[in-house]
Symmetry: D2
């Protein structure tokens, strides 16, 4: 019997490694995302926000500017194969975003994120996005009947995050009209800390600030209105420091992007 050739070494963009590489839980980038977003601008305590920033970043000209972002996504790899199985290509997400700056460039920092599917969770960690697992739900606009809002003035969109069976965050957006520009914190690049924790004794954890590079950004019409944002049953004392001290406008829109890779912060 001939030994398997060297290229038979198990492989994959991520674990699990396998002979063909097809078992990898996460496909290699790029990844395409199309989603429906319910977002609320808010203000958090600037000191609290600052404590979530690595020393390379500053709060920038609007300290404490932040946002809560709910989204229902579909995603696929370049070939689009995942779209043939709705069980695999859908997830819901909740993010907290904090405005920050690097050498005068506006960025957003995501101190907390939750998704309801494991592939986006692991994919987030590859990027440095601190995704945890939660139950994320948001109202969908309807095209027929009375069981939901329309994309029109008065349309009400509620969203909620639960973690470990606790209701953590709730948001309500009531539409007033369309606006010309998408909300600022959804337009700036995200800067993440890509972290490889230590495991082998004497090994140091690896950590690097990276900015996500995306293309093919699309916004639908952006609806805006008044909003509410509530921290409900929060047990993590660090998360609690980011409770909104002021709630701004709310937004409902659809959004798409293609995510390619990360750039080191200093070269981004």
């Amino acid at each position: 019997m001939i030994s398997p050739p060297i290229e038979a070494e198990p492989r994959g963009y991520t674990l699990p490694l396998s002979p063909s590489g097809r078992s990898a839980m996460v496909t290699p980038p790029p990844w395409h995302f199309s989603g429906e977003v319910v977002m609320v601008d808010c203000r958090v305590d600037p000191d609290a926000a600052a404590r979530f920033l690595p020393p390379e970043l500053t709060l920038g000209p609007d300290p404490g500017a932040a946002a809560a972002v709910f989204a229902e996504w579909q995603w696929c790899s370049d070939g689009g194969a995942e779209l043939a199985d709705p069980v695999q290509c859908q997830f819901a997400e909740f993010l907290i975003l904090v405005a920050c700056e690097y050498r005068g460039r506006s960025l957003a920092r995501c101190p907390y994120a939750w998704v309801d599917q494991p592939v986006p969770l692991v994919r987030g960690w590859i990027q440095g996005m601190p995704k945890q697992f939660g139950a994320v739900h948001q109202i969908r606009p309807v095209r027929s009947g009375r069981a939901g809002p329309r994309l029109e003035p008065g349309g009400r969109f509620d969203a909620a995050l639960s973690v470990y069976g606790r209701r953590v965050v709730e948001a309500t957006v009531t539409l007033e009209g369309q606006v010309a520009e998408p909300p600022f914190l959804h337009t700036v690049p995200l800067v993440h800390t890509r972290l490889f924790p230590a495991w082998v004794p004497a090994e140091e954890p690896q950590s690097r600030l990276v900015v996500s590079e995306v293309s093919d950004i699309e916004f639908s019409d952006v609806w805006a209105g008044r909003a509410d944002l509530r921290f409900v049953d929060v047990h993590d004392p660090d998360l609690a420091t980011l409770a909104p001290v002021e709630v701004g406008a709310g937004y409902v829109f659809s959004y798409a992007e293609t995510l390619h890779h990360g750039r080191p912060l200093e070269s981004a």
Copy 2:
């Protein structure tokens, strides 16, 4: 101490009964539904279909006509209160429908149904709709980006039902164009067997054929195309007899209705 007045008896449209009646799991009708539907016409063995009909019903002029219906719903009671909590007002559903007839009137019989939330399940049983629990997923059309189909020719919509961790049914619809009429089996009334199982010895089960009465029916534009429908890992031998022997057109549309009550079949 004065005894509680007689109206303090615990009450509710359903269990749990409570002092105010507000604990009832199911609110009294009417209920409003707005949903996105992926539906596939098919043909099943007419003898198999007949064995699912009570003696009052016949197969009608098109024996074996059937359909598989996936839907993602939002619902609310008359006041709309449920829409304030997206965790409570959304569910997904999969139905099998079989064409039948009562004294010359076209009806649909639903031998099997699955939903992914408990309130619709119990509400179904009140109506005589045999809802069980399953994981139901369907592709959503997107307004932005590449991670999903558009409502246009070539748009592909997949849907899947899993029960107890087994993939049971899968469907694929590829749009070709709009059609003037919604699919027939989604336009005829449903006839259910409202059943109250026996529990006290010597007590007979109660059973009555009822037709659901709905109003405020709305269809969006109806897209149609070619379809596939697959029974995958079916363990219930009775369900297996309804595997499609021929697959017809597929449809994607939004739909709304208000469900009021049932009428006895003989007076409906």
Copy 3:
């Protein structure tokens, strides 16, 4: 072609009716249950408790006596077939029990119950038990290692109920020693209101008080200790009236029973 014989009418103990009857979601009784229980005695406001009792029942000699019961069950029908699929034969449950009396006989009333599987939910409704859907978790004793308590003094057992992503109830029991008798409210029959809601106009809902009849009751050794019981994020105002005003002993034990049918209260 010969018409199908009359016995071919679709049948089943419950919906879905099918040619063989095997599709029924719930098998006919008896049902066998084996479970691990974490239970806390408590006292609720007697007036609040009274408002949950139908007029036929009184609070009895110890008004306001109540209990919170967490249990992890396995169940099967007489043939035991369900035990071959662990996905189908396991569920977790949380009950509130209130002491009551009928003509001098001690009974327990269950105003609220939650389970995490659909079959026990529907089976509960057949009996008149007001089961809703929730996430129910409890610590398991361990036989090896440090990641859990032993059944010995100092062993700590926590349990939690979440509903719609809200933490509703939490309990903690810390064992002190074995006791000779199981907790009283787990030894008296349950009296339920078997309710068939109205659906057809002019039809009245049907309602009857029934007492569950069980046999083959088994208790393991019963461990007892001090306990805590907390209502956390309760949104149902009727449920809130049953918040404990005093917390008694806690118990950990295993329990089994066979449930046969119900008897009308007046003949039970």
Copy 4:
């Protein structure tokens, strides 16, 4: 205002980084595990097994020896805090193990693993364990009643893995008696590929073979018997190559360990 001191930089063993470090999804090791195991020895095609091994490892003296391991775990960090919330400290797991060897030392390779909770999933990836998300269920022995097996001859233990709503693997173990030794593949160290995927262009993925170091291993009595192991609805063609070609004995036992860190394979 005084700048926050340098130690205020956000920190944590893993993401999310936060001011106190307490938001980290995964606590630093050591981690303590106590679990109930249902395990089946089997044989897979040696060529297929070999293709899952990195070049440093060989199949060893018993090529194709493998096992399927179901386990229900509780876990905690050193302080044991997680045991106060049963929602956080429990998970179920399914592993495939393949016998292998490094310089004459017997090891086990885990080409595939699934868990039903996100923290064990991420914790697995830190170690190089390729954990994916699945629904894992196994029968529990009972102390009372008929709804489950006893740890005695004839006791039957079924277990099942579902992934994305597909039943993937099922096992059945029927006890015959106790054995003196635990199953071999549960006694040898696991060798994993700790992988940090590439994300920044021109960056190479990092990959290192590490052996998990555990202490405080405890086995209960080990029951053994005849077994069955079935691959049911497998869509990953690489996984399919590991379908059992021969099924050996089955085992039921409880097991505990403390997991400390990894050692590079060459120094382990």
